[in-house]
């Protein structure tokens, strides 16, 4: 008993175990209580293995922070999509690629928003011009187009520009650019008498577009006019506006509902997509490891406990399965089973169970030779009971760590497969699909890639650190090891 006391007290670095011997009354020594009961008190409370591990884990700040992040994320994923008033597939077709933040000012347009009548000068005017210099073909370069200006209001549903006619021009070409010092891309060619252009090509609110009008003649000579700088305002049809602003009228300005993370290329709320995506990504990340580790436990226990011939055959099969490159097999199964959450889980389980089976088998092999198993066997405990009551509870730590570290792997696999277009298919949202969709417009709207990308990375980081922390806590000997 006193041995035990000493051991525990040493662990707790308590000074309570000074031997009870007769010492001179020296100031350096304090006499222990003479009552034997008090002397036997174990200063550090007796803790179970799990309590001990928990205490160690609590000291690891990064692991605790990761754990809090993980729990928050799971809660947010569970509640978030219900709370937020956007749906992951609800589109606001007039509000594509809205930047993160509050709502924008939009101009309500009527049904005639696309009505556009080109400015055409009468042919007779042109003829009258040519009358001035009869039968003389001009070899001179045309004059540069003048007074390039905006017609009406610049809206995302269309920008109309017009310019004045110049002599010597056989036609005009309109260029549009997003930078002031480049020509950009040619948008249209007009003939000599058409002096306006309506731009309908994917205009974004708040972006500045630079229009340049070139005049050219039949010889290929050209001249460029002044650059017109246009920043269109967001346009919204009356019908759409009335959904959130019942008293909107044509021509009035309304504030659109805010999207905290903006909208994607189809006008879907990015936050709603990420929250729904979190559900799917976490579901796959949690369920796939749960299933394959369960299979691994059964397979590993049977193989490890029985050993010999059975073990040999079972492990050769596992060997072959682990040798097959994981993602290759998942991709193959995806082709066969089609896409969806269920197939992704099945595919991940099928290729990864063997690895966990091997690790659990190793653990069982080690425990099989322990005294308590021998004792149980001698006492006539049935095999299933030895496995269930003696072996399994002792592998819980290994299994828990295996599980935690398998989650980021599964989340990564889902994101990877969805990213290359073989996982979750749109309009369903998972983090991988959100990155994939954002990647199409990466150059103009990098935040549509970076927000989900950071989310995936931080989540993987948190699960990795939590798993590392748990491994260190459950088995301090392995601290700092891989």
């Amino acid at each position: 008993m006193s041995d035990l006391t000493q051991e525990h007290s040493n662990q707790a670095k308590s000074k309570a175990t000074v031997a009870r011997v007769d010492v001179p009354s020296d100031a350096l020594f304090t006499l222990r209580s003479k009552t034997s009961g008090a002397a036997e008190i174990i200063r550090r409370p007796s803790v179970s293995f799990w309590m001990d591990a928990w205490l160690r884990l609590k000291k690891n700040k990064i692991a605790v922070a990761s754990g809090i992040y993980v729990i928050t994320l799971i809660l947010v994923a569970a509640i978030g999509p219900e709370v937020i008033h956007y749906n992951y597939e609800e589109q606001e077709v007039w509000n594509l690629h809205q930047p993160p933040g509050n709502g924008q000012i939009a101009v309500v347009t009527g049904d005639n928003q696309y009505d556009y009548v080109p400015v055409v000068v009468e042919a007779s005017t042109a003829a009258a011009d040519s009358d001035a210099a009869p039968a003389e073909v001009s070899y001179e370069a045309p004059e540069a187009p003048v007074s390039v200006e905006l017609v009406g209001e610049a809206l995302t549903t269309g920008i109309v520009i017009k310019w004045a006619q110049v002599t010597g021009a056989d036609g005009y070409r309109v260029y549009r650019s997003t930078e002031a010092d480049t020509d950009g891309v040619p948008m249209t060619d007009t003939d000599a008498v058409t002096l306006s252009y309506q731009d309908l090509e994917s205009l974004m609110a708040g972006h500045t577009y630079y229009y340049k009008v070139f005049s050219f003649n039949a010889m290929g000579d050209s001249a460029v006019g002044t650059t017109l700088e246009v920043t269109p305002k967001l346009a919204i049809s009356l019908l759409d506006a009335q959904k959130f602003a019942p008293d909107a009228t044509v021509g009035s300005q309304v504030t659109t509902p805010s999207h905290y993370l903006g909208t994607d290329y189809l006008g879907r709320d990015l936050l709603a997509r990420l929250l729904t995506g979190a559900r799917i990504s976490l579901f796959i990340g949690l369920v796939a490891p749960l299933i394959y580790i369960f299979i691994g436990i059964v397979y590993g226990c049977v193989s490890g406990y029985f050993g010999g011939f059975i073990d040999n055959i079972m492990m050769r099969i596992a060997d072959i399965i682990t040798t097959i490159p994981d993602l290759l097999a998942v991709i193959m199964l995806q082709v066969f089973l089609g896409s969806g959450v269920a197939t992704l889980v099945i595919a991940l389980v099928m290729v990864t169970w063997a690895t966990s089976a091997r690790q659990i088998r190793g653990e069982v092999l080690r425990l099989r030779e322990s005294e308590f198993v021998y004792a149980a066997r001698v006492l006539g405990t049935p095999t299933y009971r030895i496995i269930l009551r003696h072996l399994l509870p002792n592998t819980t730590g290994t299994i828990l760590v295996l599980f935690t570290l398998a989650i980021p792997q599964a989340i990564f696999s889902e994101a990877f497969l969805s990213f290359i277009g073989l996982g979750i298919k749109p309009p369903m949202a998972s983090w991988g699909t959100v990155v994939r969709e954002g990647a199409k417009f990466f150059k103009s709207y990098p935040h549509e890639v970076f927000i989900p990308a950071v989310l995936i990375s931080v989540t993987m980081f948190a699960f990795n650190r939590l798993g590392d922390g748990m491994r260190d806590a459950l088995d301090p000997r392995l601290r700092g090891a891989e």
Partner: protein, 308 residues
């Protein structure tokens, strides 16, 4: 050694056989045949194609032809979707691009990873260690395609130091190799650190110090030489990460490698190309992992492979 080698070869072959059979079964379990999607082909032409590709034969015969063609003659068949291109041609033309990319990524990982790990172990729990491990954990947590986009955005789009894509010249190879090799580099750094920490406590290190060897000699001759061995054994499994990573990295940077072909063929359901490339990739991975394990057995006399 011989017994071990035979056993490993047998397992490897078994895995390859399983992959090939699995691919074949899966491909033929998909409803319809690949030629049915060709809309504008007259029925008679379609029949000719069916005969040409042997799709009219019994399934078992198709399986026999496919397996014998692949394993006995190294012939993976003809692409269904691209005219007059055999899978062998695709592999021959594009494999070297992928191989070069993989080699560059692996070299980056092998050079930087262990150095970072060594540095971290030598400065245990001090700033260099914390910094190095931060890089390592970030490297493990950030998926390669995310890193690829980030590097592309930062170095190619914003700073305009490097080209954002293509595959012509050394400067185009830097970003893809970095993004592909990062995860392996990070794993190696972590492995090397823990391995070094173990070696530092060994008696022979104390003996070396007692003999009066310089710090540099101890680190290079005694510590790194011993610590690097466990790291080498992980090159095999880590190689698989490079292989799968290359599918998406090649796509992002527009590199004409095999990985992109593989992803495209899966999306287009080009059966022969999928089957051929899967078996090729699997075989390649198996051979590399076996090779690494054998090399490990040779350089570390303490490992008795036969007893494993």
């Amino acid at each position: 050694m011989f017994r071990y080698l035979m056993q490993r070869l047998l397992t490897g072959f078994g895995a390859l056989f399983t992959v090939a059979t699995l691919t074949f079964v899966l491909m033929h379990a998909v409803p319809g045949d690949p030629l049915r999607q060709e809309k504008n082909v007259p029925e008679s032409v379609r029949q000719n194609l069916v005969v040409k590709y042997g799709l009219d034969r019994p399934l078992l015969e198709q399986y026999g032809r496919y397996m014998s063609g692949m394993f006995l003659h190294g012939d993976f068949g003809i692409s269904f979707k691209q005219e007059n291109i055999t899978v062998n041609q695709i592999i021959r033309d594009h494999f070297w691009v992928s191989a070069l990319l993989g080699m560059l990524a692996l070299s980056f990982a092998i050079i930087v990873g262990p150095s970072l790990g060594t540095l971290a172990a030598l400065f245990r729990n001090r700033t260099p260690d914390n910094l190095a491990m931060m890089v390592a954990v970030a490297g493990i947590s950030i998926p390669s395609f995310v890193l690829a986009y980030f590097l592309q955005f930062l170095l190619a789009e914003k700073l305009k130091i490097l080209p954002s894509g293509g595959w012509d010249g050394p400067e185009t190879m830097i970003l893809p190799s970095l993004s592909l090799g990062m995860i392996v580099m990070a794993s190696m750094a972590r492995l090397m650190r823990s391995s070094m920490l173990e070696v530092i406590q060994q008696d022979y290190v104390r003996t070396a110090r007692a003999k009066g060897l310089s710090l540099m000699q101890i680190i290079v001759l005694h510590q790194i030489r011993n610590a690097i061995l466990p790291v080498v054994v992980y090159i095999g499994p880590l190689f698989a990460a490079i292989l799968t990573g290359s599918f998406v990295i090649e796509n992002i940077f527009g590199i004409p490698g095999l990985g992109q072909f593989f992803v495209n063929s899966v999306q287009e359901l080009d059966y022969t190309v999928i089957m051929g490339l899967t078996v090729f990739f699997a075989g390649f991975a198996i051979v590399v992992i076996l090779g690494v394990d054998l090399v490990y057995g040779l350089i570390d006399p303490r490992i008795r492979l036969a007893k494993k």
